[in-house]
């Protein structure tokens, strides 16, 4: 069956095998069942399923969107419920979850690839499983055994979905302002009252039960983030035998009308709308809600980084096909009296290669980060675990910030390649642009990613974590320089590395934190370009002995020689200081 999305399994396999070290991760005791052959089968079958079953619903999801009904239920677009049922039957949500509760226990990086495939197929649809997986991870790490046994098995199969309830009307990026209340009851449970907004899949018709994880304050909790606790609040109260009981007092009072991901219902949830309050159970320590949320933050941010990659890929595939079908104008290769295919125009080729090479660069950066998380959790040597934890910490804001910015830019180029038709909704290129915009905002805006990079990550071990990272890039460039076809790319990377060092040392030397924050966003972009550039360069070096050599060389050279030099131009912005932003 032909589809309008083809899982890019060749590049994914290359990254898994040669760049992010799946062959080492597979050797960790917990992953011995996840051998390479099974991973191959899994990705090709999951890819086929998402392409054939989930991808065709992408357009109808955008055109119709989810609808809030008068009885406060939410209906997803036609076809979503059946596709979700098929997703549950296939069991794709279980792959990377814990084996104790029915999960497949596969590496995080394998789960990350599945996320790319489902997000490319249909970002709105993917939000339901993605949020569920975040909730599963939080419960796995912090819930009591009784709560785990009650909720995890059916969340892991996907029969029940999960949500994350953080944001309130006056508490967005700043969670210290959370006001939702949790009143302790004599039976040990809590009554939750308050309003949460921006709750993805907070109400929908695809599962029988929805498990909300809610941040709230108990009556005598301290102020700020240290007084926030996490509660599990099911849509239906649980009977002791595990069956669903009466409706809990949590109501979806409306859903938002959005720029994109219209089939993903973004809900306003009212807890206690019917007067009593919603019954919830404490997850983890009292006042430990923020810590609990942060254990899944790296994973969730990588999940959003993947969305930038995934929509870039989808937009690229569409633009690529169009450029090979549409004839317009003349090119030097055109015969007399005939029109050229778009792909024959050098400027169109530049646009396509800008898309393709950055998609590959994002894929490498993200999967290396995911692989580092697997190493940090399961490597046998403590030093190996710690080193990879540092890499994951440093790379996560780069992956989230740069990949979502770049995913949006790529979707914009996708519109451009379609010319006037790109601006017409019927073409479908515009949907990718609108859908991709949210990834730059949620799970920590990209500004917050940049602040995280300069505020928390740059200073790790007095700056040595970043310095050592740049040192590894230098060694890799030296290895690549000896490959004749890569000498120009290596030279370009060396200049960019010099810029990264200059910017890093300038930031580390500042005493006024505002000067550092003023340069945060250009610094994130600079570091991402240099980090991803090295991964592209390394790919080309490794591939030079393989059949895929020429393809890797083509994109690596374009990325390193034509896009990475932009890193040097960012130094003045990084080092301008806060005074350069004065005024109103």
């Amino acid at each position: 069956m032909s589809t309008d999305y083809t899982p890019p399994l060749a590049d994914i396999s290359f990254v898994l095998d040669h760049i992010c070290g799946l062959n080492e991760i597979n050797k960790f005791a917990v992953f011995t069942h996840a051998d390479r052959e099974v991973v191959t089968d899994l990705l090709s079958e999951a890819g086929r399923f998402f392409a054939q079953t989930v991808a065709p619903l992408n357009v109808i999801g955008d055109q119709i969107g989810s609808v809030h009904n008068a009885d406060n239920t939410v209906s997803t677009p036609a076809g979503f419920k059946a596709a979700y049922q098929a997703y549950v039957e296939a069991g794709w949500g279980a792959v990377a979850a814990a084996p104790e509760y029915g999960g497949g226990g596969f590496p995080f990086v394998v789960g990350a690839v599945l996320e790319e495939l489902i997000s490319s197929a249909n970002l709105s649809f993917s939000m339901c499983p993605l949020l569920t997986q975040g909730a599963i991870r939080l419960l796995e790490h912090h819930a009591s055994d009784a709560l785990k046994a009650m909720y995890l098995p059916k969340m892991i199969t996907g029969e029940w979905s999960g949500t994350m309830n953080l944001t309130e009307p006056d508490a967005g990026s700043d969670l210290a302002a959370v006001r939702t209340k949790a009143e302790p009851q004599s039976d040990g449970s809590y009554l939750i009252t308050g309003t949460k907004i921006f709750i993805s899949f907070g109400e929908h018709d695809m599962t029988d039960q929805i498990v909300h994880l809610v941040l709230a304050r108990t009556p005598d909790a301290p102020g700020g983030t240290k007084g926030i606790s996490c509660f599990v609040v099911p849509k239906y109260l649980m009977n002791e035998d595990g069956t669903l009981g009466e409706r809990n007092d949590v109501t979806c009072v409306s859903i938002e009308h959005k720029m994109g991901i219209k089939a993903s219902p973004t809900c306003v949830l009212s807890f206690g709308e019917n007067g009593r309050g919603a019954v919830g159970e404490l997850v983890g320590e009292l006042n430990g809600g923020i810590i609990a949320m942060f254990t899944m933050m790296n994973h969730a941010r990588i999940g959003v980084a993947i969305e930038g990659l995934a929509l870039g890929e989808r937009a690229y595939q569409q633009a690529y096909s169009f450029a090979h079908e549409r004839k317009q104008g003349r090119a030097s290769s055109t015969a007399r009296g005939e029109s050229a295919l778009l792909i024959e125009h050098p400027d169109v080729r530049r646009m396509l290669l800008t898309m393709e090479s950055q998609i590959e660069a994002m894929r490498r950066l993200i999967y290396v980060t995911a692989g580092a998380i697997d190493h940090s959790e399961h490597a046998t040597e403590a030093a190996d675990r710690e080193g990879n934890e540092e890499i994951a910490a440093l790379f996560t804001p780069l992956a989230k910030g740069w990949s979502t910015d770049t995913g949006f830019e790529i979707a914009s180029i996708g519109v451009q390649i379609h010319g006037g038709m790109g601006f017409i909704e019927e073409t479908g290129a515009a949907q990718h642009l609108r859908d991709s915009r949210i990834a730059m905002i949620y799970e920590g805006t990209n500004g917050i990613q940049a602040m995280d990079l300069v505020g928390r990550k740059l200073g790790l071990r007095g700056g040595d974590v970043v310095r050592e990272h740049l040192g590894r890039i230098q060694s890799s460039i030296a290895e690549c320089r000896v490959v004749p076809e890569l000498s120009a790319s290596a030279a370009a990377m060396e200049s960019a590395l010099e810029a990264a060092r200059e910017a890093t040392e300038w930031l580390l030397a500042q005493t006024n934190n505002d000067d550092v924050l003023a340069g945060a966003t250009p610094y994130l972009r600079l570091m991402a370009l240099v980090t991803a550039g090295e991964l592209m360069l390394r790919s080309a070096r490794i591939a030079s002995n393989l059949e895929c050599g020429p393809a890797q060389l083509r994109t690596a050279r374009f990325f390193c020689e034509q896009l990475v030099p932009g890193a040097t131009a960012l130094v003045p912005a990084v080092t301008a200081g806060v005074d350069s932003l004065a005024g109103r």
Binding site: T6, H33, T40, A94
Partner: protein, 258 residues
């Protein structure tokens, strides 16, 4: 009930194919399950379910021990596979293939029904099912668009140009099923994990008593030449001067489609 399904592992049609100097298809990359065989696998699983028990066995032939395509069908729910795997298989013609597969059916044990596709997507001879049935001494019911089994009898609807014939035979029998006859299930995550441990009985031509009868050695046909399919002719344009519909109708009548 024990149903055997003949499945072929073919080069991925999404990858541009290439020919060897002897005009045979290059089969170097990771093969996939021929999509036209996925219908037989699904049909077999449904028939076994409907019968209240039993199992599905796959049989296949390859010049190497490649099992990637078989694993897809095992992940769908087949219980085990017999793979005739021998470098001597390379170059087999349709009859050689039928001999190997018929022997593999015998090796699979007591079998009630063999299902095949109507033809493979890479070879397209369409003759193997009938040849197999002849070698097994079983009735061949071909081009089935519906299959029912009851009381030791198989009844099919045989697709014809005009509609369908109802054809019946006693078991054991061989049935070829058309594409689209059922909706093949997707292999599930659990199915893929289970497939890892399902037995694949790999046997050689000698194991089947077919030494010298398979591959080029046993083939009674040779490929003398391969030519590209003729390029598609330019279409015919009708200007609509008010009688366009008549031209369209007469064009379609010439094609005998109306």
């Amino acid at each position: 009930m024990h149903v055997v399904v003949c499945v072929k592992q073919i080069p991925d049609p999404a990858v541009p194919g290439a020919l060897n100097a002897d005009h045979t298809l290059k089969r170097e990359g990771k093969p996939i399950l021929d999509e036209s065989d996925s219908y037989g696998v699904e049909m077999a699983l449904q028939l076994v379910d409907a019968a209240g028990g039993g199992e599905v066995t796959l049989i296949s032939m390859a010049a190497n021990e490649e099992t990637a395509g078989l694993r897809t069908a095992l992940a769908m729910g087949a219980a085990k596979a017999v793979l005739v795997s021998d470098p001597a298989c390379a170059g087999s013609d349709a009859l050689g293939t039928a001999k190997a597969l018929a022997k593999a059916v015998e090796r699979a044990g007591s079998v009630d029904l063999v299902l095949t596709a109507t033809e493979s997507s890479d070879g397209y001879t369409g003759t193997v099912p009938a040849q197999m049935a002849e070698l097994l001494g079983w009735p061949a019911l071909t081009f089935a668009k519906k299959v029912d089994i009851a009381d030791g009898t198989v009844t099919i609807q045989r697709q014809t140009e005009a509609g369908y014939d109802t054809v019946q035979a006693s078991l054991p029998a061989l049935v070829s099923v058309t594409a689209g006859v059922v909706e093949p299930r997707y292999p599930s995550f659990k199915g893929i994990m289970a497939a890892k441990n399902k037995p694949v009985d790999i046997c050689t031509a000698a194991d089947l008593g077919l030494d010298g009868q398979l591959g080029w050695a046993g083939a009674r046909q040779t490929i003398t030449n391969v030519e590209n399919a003729p390029a598609r002719q330019a279409g015919e344009k009708f200007e609509d001067d008010g009688t366009g519909f008549e031209k369209v109708v007469s064009f379609l009548e010439n094609l005998k489609v109306i």
